[in-house]
Amino acid sequence: MLGKLTWNAIPWDQPIPLVAGSAVFSIAIAVVAWVVLKGHLPYLWREWITSVDHKRIGIMYMMLGLVMLVRGFVDAIMMRSQQALAFHAPGYLPPEHYNQIFSAHGTIMIFFAAMPLMIGLMNFAVPLQLGARDVAFPTLNSTSFWLTATGALLVNLSLVIGEFARTGWLPYPPLSETTYTPGVGVDYYLWALLISGVGTLMTGINFVTTILKIRAPGMGYLRMSMFCWTALAANLLIVAAFPILTATLGMLTLDRYLGFHFFTNEAGGNMMMFINLIWAWGHPEVYILVLPAFGVFSEVISTFSRRPLFNYRSMVMATMAICLISFVVWLHHFFTMGAGADVNATFGITTTIIAVATGVKIFNWLFTMYGGRISFATPMLWSLGFLVTFVIGGMTGVLLAVPPADFQLHNSLFLVAHFHNVIIGGVLFAGFAGLTYWFPKAFGFRLHEGWGKAAFWLSLAGFYVVFVPLYATGLLGMTRRLQHYDVALWYPWLLAASFGIVIMACAAACQVMQIVVSIRHREELRDETGDPWNGRSLEWATLSPPPAFNFAVLPKVHGEEPYWDMKRRAIETQQLPAEPEYEPVAMPRNSPTGFITAFFATITGFGLIWQIWWLVGIGLFFAYATFVWFAWRDVEEYVIPAHEVARIDRERRRVHDEWLQQDLRHHREPA
């Protein structure tokens, strides 16, 4: 009746997941109860859950990413503390548990923290920067978000119902086949990623279409902001790479559920094929993560240096080169599988070529700072931290791209330190830079600078104190994923690393404090102008937060940095442009489709994991029914009448006029 599900699925005899699960469950119930009892549910449903507005969806992605970042970070704390304790000792986490923790850590951090953070920033900022009203397919956008949330939910459910995969964040066969891992852990992993992968693919389709087909008049390709270019490259990668993930995980699912032999030891299965296919997705994936990060830094460095981005065209070329080349480097993830010298060397060389494009970008950022007037607000600090940290990570990456070096360092803690170096230094720092940079636009008030700076410095210090020792242990021969070890040489370094994790925990606390304090003091931190940083791109032309329709009249774009041009022209002519003809604006209606589809996807996924087939049937049937019901609606848009558009825009003009008068009065430096 309930497939494989029994009461034994709950970890009654394991205190850590039991306590953690109960705590999270209680908090969740408390939050839901507070929301319902305070009467906030209708508001939440109307304005957020069913919203198809890219700004709201972007904010929800960021919230999901930040929460899952904390969850993944807790896993990291457990891993570091286990390794600090497990020298000639078993530590406090038995292998069955430890192996789930590092697998969950990687899976959550990549799929449910880093991806949502980057996708959230893209969702929020790209349509605004393009001068568009929304993305190409707003309801699809909402569905993408909720399907990603479904994946996150399933992974977290595995903590308390059943177990998670014990195979690492990429489940290499034959270990991940039912022969060697018969439990539901790998199934949780597979369905969570297959479902959220659909969501991500839809995001890719949405943004490629938006960036290529929905831009303000006059915005040719070479007038788009750098963030839009990197968003385009990242989403092209999503469209081209995620289907490979779906296919490969699908093959593993067929092996596990129906006894197929894609990757099994017997009957002709080929485990090397899994590794090739999964990394054919896996390498573009890391560029999907880091390209938007590069875009954020282009925006931030340019704005806070008060200079245009240096050598914009070269940056565009480098970005698209990275996009293309990322598809021909995948073998560097398994030089030691024995492909032979010719193959290894070829892929090593292609990997170094991709480093050229990244190096070009770094130099262009440096020269953007050169000749600037740099202010060290929190986003700029994150960017400086990135510039220093990422080049080290990139360097160790190019080192690992040399096969003889990799023959000694593959799968060691040196490798682990390398990829954390680039992901934390690149993606995470960009997440926080973007958060701090665009927060005022999203909510109308800035984040507290003091707490932000504290979070930055502690993060930077914590990162080095954790990972430099790990580089060391890797050079001393330590491999990754060890639950215990007996080599005295490694022990002091692992102790040092656990001290670093404490520093990072303090950084996380500061980050949380920043948000809490900022909300408490939001009136003092309020941003009246919509342009707190003296920005250069179109999103700063709107009020904070922008109205639903973003722009009353789509702006006419005459060059790169359209908003900077607008400001300059206003100062030169000493007036705002004439009031435009206001017309009614049609906006897409909210829809519960995304949320309901994801709800049934969760049911379907849970049923598939536990092999409760009738539940699967129900889930699929109602998911399709939801889709049909959505397709049946007669009214797709609602219209904002011209006078309402005019009223909102006149408020914006009033604010901008005030700014202009102030500026002319004080003869503020024109740039």
Binding site: L201, P217, M219, A247, G269, P555, P584, A586, D634
Partner: protein, 234 residues
């Protein structure tokens, strides 16, 4: 994917979205002053029309689907000779059945194209008829394919027999799943056309369905060539 001028059912709904049942040229509530004629979305003219956006997005989806099929084709190329002492394609494939399946699918593509023509002249009868025939041909395709699968499984050549057979069943089965999903969509479209007529949004969806069905046909050609024809020769 030409500009908006040539197709009558492209523009966004008018100021009064609750008036239903008629389309034709609508004045766009707001186009940023760019003018309809230039909205190809190539930067200079502002956002593209809804029809262009929908078709473009759907094409990107189809390309991503082709990538997914490519992964399965790649797996098939690797596992082609991994018969683990079991039967190979040469011993299993029934060329007659495959020929019938191919004709059904190709014919169904033709009737699907007919339905597009019928829709463009707003003929409810011919649209429904040609869609129905498309569906029947699609079902026939699936029936023959299912029969092939059953026969093979009965002979002990099911997907659990060897990696080659796993790969064969998966790549052909994936295509079959897409055809099944397409038939489900087809049924829904027939109902929608019947109830709602040839509104702009319905026409866009019919266009997407057409693209989907033709691409499935193209993938079948590739499948037929790589899996069946080249598999025979092995």
């Amino acid at each position: 994917m030409s500009t908006t001028e040539t197709l009558p059912f492209t523009t966004a709904p008018s100021i009064d979205p609750y008036k239903l049942g008629h389309d034709g040229r609508r004045r766009r509530p707001d186009d940023g002053g760019a003018g309809r004629d230039y909205s190809t979305g190539h930067g200079e003219g502002g956002p593209a029309s809804k029809r262009v956006i929908v078709a473009y997005g759907f094409w990107i989806f189809l390309l991503s689907d082709i990538v997914m099929f490519s992964a399965f084709f790649a797996a098939h190329a690797v596992l082609r000779s991994a018969t683990a002492g079991g039967p190979s394609g040469h011993e299993l494939f029934d060329p007659r059945s495959v020929a019938i399946e191919t004709s059904c699918l190709l014919l169904s593509s033709f009737t699907c194209g007919l339905s597009a023509v019928a829709a463009s002249v707003r003929s409810q009868l011919w649209t429904q008829l040609s869609l129905l025939i498309t569906g029947i041909l699609g079902l026939a395709f699936l029936a023959f394919e299912a029969r092939d699968f059953m026969t093979m499984i009965a002979q002990g050549a099911g997907p659990q027999r060897s990696a080659f057979l796993s790969s064969f069943f998966s790549v052909v089965g994936l295509h079959g799943m897409h055809v099944s999903a397409g038939l489900l969509w087809l049924g829904t479209m027939m109902a929608q056309v019947f109830v709602k007529g040839f509104r702009a949004v319905i026409m866009r969806r019919l266009l997407c369905f057409n693209l989907f069905w033709h691409v499935l046909d193209i993938i079948w050609i590739a499948l037929f060539t790589i899996v069946y024809l080249m598999g025979e020769g092995l």
